[in-house]
Symmetry: none
DNA sequence: CAATAATCGAGACGGTACGTCTTGTCTTGGC
DNA sequence: GCCAAGACAAGACGTACCGTCTCGATTATTG
C-alpha cells in the first residue's frame, strides 16, 4: 500500500530510478519492530533509519513523519487479519468477532494500536488514516453480521445500525483506552450477551 | 510527587516561605487556556511558565511534568460537573446521563479530554490519574442509575454490571476517539435506546 | 578525470555516443549565471542541473565537483581578457596592467574570483587550478613588463623579480580579500607610484 | 571577548543563572583544536559540542554559527601576538614585523588564518570580524613604524600611507592565499628590500 | 541494418551536518 | 525556604546538499 503520489497506476513508464522496494520494506519492518520494542512515541525516525539502513531523507521523502510510517507498517503486518465467522447465528458471530478483536487488543499489537489511537487525538492525519483503514474495515465486518442477522429475523430491524455496531465495539475500545476492566474472552462474551439481550428486563 | 490539590492537609507550619497559592493558581489557569488554544501536546512547559509568570523550576517542583499539570488544571475546571438525574426511570436517567457526557465530549473540553486519553496511551501515570479521577466518577454515577433500575425491577438483574455500564459509555468513548460517527443528543438517544432493548429481536 | 576543454585531441572516433557539446556548454553557462547570482557556495549542483537541463549524473561524470565546473566556467568567460599594454614605459605599463586587474577585481567577476580564492583555502585541487590557470597567467604578463623595463634600464636589475611582481599584485589581492581599502583606478595608481619609488626617501 | 548582547557592562546585576565561563572556555578550546586538526570547514558544530561537553543549543545560543566560534577561538589563542619592534630603523622594523607575520602565516595557525580569510569571501560577517579584529591591528602596527620612519626622515613623507602599508603586507597575504611562492624569512627580507628601494632604478 | 557501447535526463538513495526545539535540571540573587 | 530568571546538557526533529546509483531512452560506431 504505497503512500507516494499516485504511483504504479500504469504498466511502468515513469522516468528516473524507481523507488527501492527493498528500502521500503526494510523501513516498514524496522518500524514494526520498534513500535513493539519501545512504543510509538519513543521510536525515533533516526533509529528507524539506522535499523533499516535507509537514510532519514528517504524516509521523509515517502512519509511525512514517523506516525505515517507507523500506520503503514502496522497495516502491512495485519493485512489478512479478521475473517468473517458466519456461523449462521448472529449472536455467535458477534461473539467470535469480538473475541477476535479483543484478543488482538490484548496482544502486543494491541498496545501499538492503542498508541495509534492515542496519537490520533493529536494528529488529524493519523486520525483519518486510522478511521479509514483500521476502524472502517472492522465496522464493515460487524455490519455484515448485522445485516445477515436482520435478514434472518434474528436481530431487531428497526434499530440504528451505527448505534448497534457501536454497542459491540464501543465497550472494547473503551476498555482498551481507559483500562478500567479486563480484555479477555470472558469480557467479550459478557459484552455480547448484554448487548444482545439489552439492559431492560 | 504532590500532584493532588490537598497536599498539605494539616496546619503544620513548616519553616521557610510557604508555597505561593497565587503561583499555583496562575499555573493552572495558564495551563487550562493553553490546552484549549494549542492542545495538550503543543503546549510547552516554557509557555505555561511565561503566561503564568511562574518559573519552570517552580512548575517542576510541584508537578512531575506538563501532563500532571494538565490533569490538575482540567479537574479544577470541572469539579461539580455531573449531577445524578434520578428521574425515576432508568431509561430516562441513562438518556440524560449520556446526553450530559456527550455534550461534554462534544464541547471544547471534550477535545482536551480526548487528548488526555490519548496521552494516557503513552504515559501510565496519566492513565492512572485519568482512570481514577475522571473515568471512575462517571462510572459510579451510571452504576447508581443501574442499581436503582435493578432495585425497581426495570433492569435485568443477572447481567454483568460492568458490561452493562460499558454498553452505555463505550459507544460514546468509541466515537470520541475514533470519530467515525457524530456526538450529539440524537446519538445519545439512539445508543441508550438500542442498549436498553438489545440487539436481539 | 577529464576536466580540460581539449580532452580528445585526436580525431579518434570512439564507439558509443559521443559527449554532448550542447550539454557541456549549457552546464558552463548555467554555472556562470549561478556564480554571479548566488555565489560560489550557495550554488548547488542540483540547481546547475535544473537550469542547464543536464542531469546531476552527467555533471559528476565530467567534473569531480561543482568547484571544478566553476573554474572551467569562470575561465571560459574570460579567455582573452588581459592584453599586454607595452607603452614603452614600465611605470605606465604597470599602471595600466594594475588598473585592468583592479577593474576586474572590482567588477562582478571579481566577487566570483575572490570566492574561488576563498575556496582554494579549503580545497587543494581548486588551489592548483587557480594558481596554474588564473594567477600564473597574470604574473607572466607583469613579468614581461618587468623584463622589458630591466632591459630598457628603467628598472633595478638586481631586485628579486618574484618579490617585485608581488609588490604590484600583492596589494591588490590583499585589498580584494581583506576589503580594508577601496579597489579603483586611484588605488591602482597609488600602488604603482609607491612601488616604483619605494618607501625610503 | 564575549559575543552576547552587551553583557557584563556594569558590576553584575542581571537576574538568572550567569553564563558558564567553563562552558565558554571549553567550547573555544575544542574549536581551536578542531581547526588545527581537521580545518575550518570540516569542523562540525556537533563535534565541538561533543569535545567541549557543551550542548549544541548552548553553542548556538552564544554564537550564530561555527565560524563565529572559530574567530573568537582564534583570537583568544593569539591575544598578545605581535610586539612593535622599534629598533630605530624603519627598514629594520619593517623587516622584523614582516618576518613575524610571515612566521605566523607559515605556522599551523597560518593555515587556519588563511581559511578564515577564505571563509570571509562567502560570509560578510566573518569578513567584518576579520577586518576589524585581525587585519586592522596588524595594520596599525605597521602604520606606527611608518609614522616613526617619516618623522625621522627615513621614509618618503608624500606617499599614500595606505598604499605604503599594503606594499609590506600585500605580498605576504598574496603568497598566503595564492601559494605561488614561499613564505619564509628570506621572502620577508626580499619583500621589504624591494619595497624600500622601489622598482625604479 | 542490427548489435554494441557510451551517453543522456530523471530522480531515488545513503550519508551527514545543519540549526531549531523541547525537556527537565541547575545556579544565581532577591524576597 | 521559596521564587523568577534564565543558562545548561541531552537529544530528536525535519531540511538541505553531496555524490552515487539505477532506470529507460537516445545516438553514435562497428560488424
Amino acid at each position: 500500500m504505497p503512500v507516494g503520489p499516485t504511483e504504479q497506476s500504469q504498466a511502468r513508464a515513469r522516468p528516473g530510478r524507481p523507488r527501492s522496494e527493498q528500502s521500503r520494506a526494510a523501513v516498514l519492518r524496522a518500524t514494526s519492530e520498534l513500535m513493539l520494542e519501545v512504543g510509538l512515541r519513543a521510536m525515533t525516525t533516526e533509529e528507524i533509519a539506522r535499523r533499516s539502513g535507509a537514510s532519514k531523507a528517504t524516509i521523509y521523502k515517502w512519509w511525512p513523519n514517523k506516525y505515517a510510517v507507523a500506520i503503514e507498517a502496522f497495516l502491512s503486518e495485519m493485512l489478512v487479519e479478521s475473517a468473517d465467522p458466519d456461523t449462521g447465528s448472529a449472536h455467535e458471530d458477534f461473539r467470535l468477532a469480538l473475541r477476535g478483536l479483543i484478543r488482538f487488543y490484548a496482544g502486543s499489537s494491541g498496545r501499538v494500536f492503542a498508541q495509534l489511537v492515542g496519537e490520533a487525538q493529536f494528529d488529524p492525519e493519523v486520525a483519518v488514516e486510522l478511521r479509514d483503514r483500521l476502524v472502517g474495515s472492522r465496522r464493515q465486518l460487524v455490519r455484515a453480521i448485522w445485516d445477515r442477522g436482520v435478514a434472518r429475523g434474528e436481530l431487531s430491524p428497526d434499530a440504528d445500525p451505527e448505534a448497534a455496531i457501536d454497542l459491540v465495539f464501543g465497550p472494547a475500545m473503551y476498555r482498551l483506552v481507559a483500562g478500567h476492566a479486563p480484555l479477555d474472552d470472558a469480557a467479550a462474551d459478557a459484552i455480547v450477551d448484554v448487548a444482545m439481550r439489552g439492559l431492560a428486563r
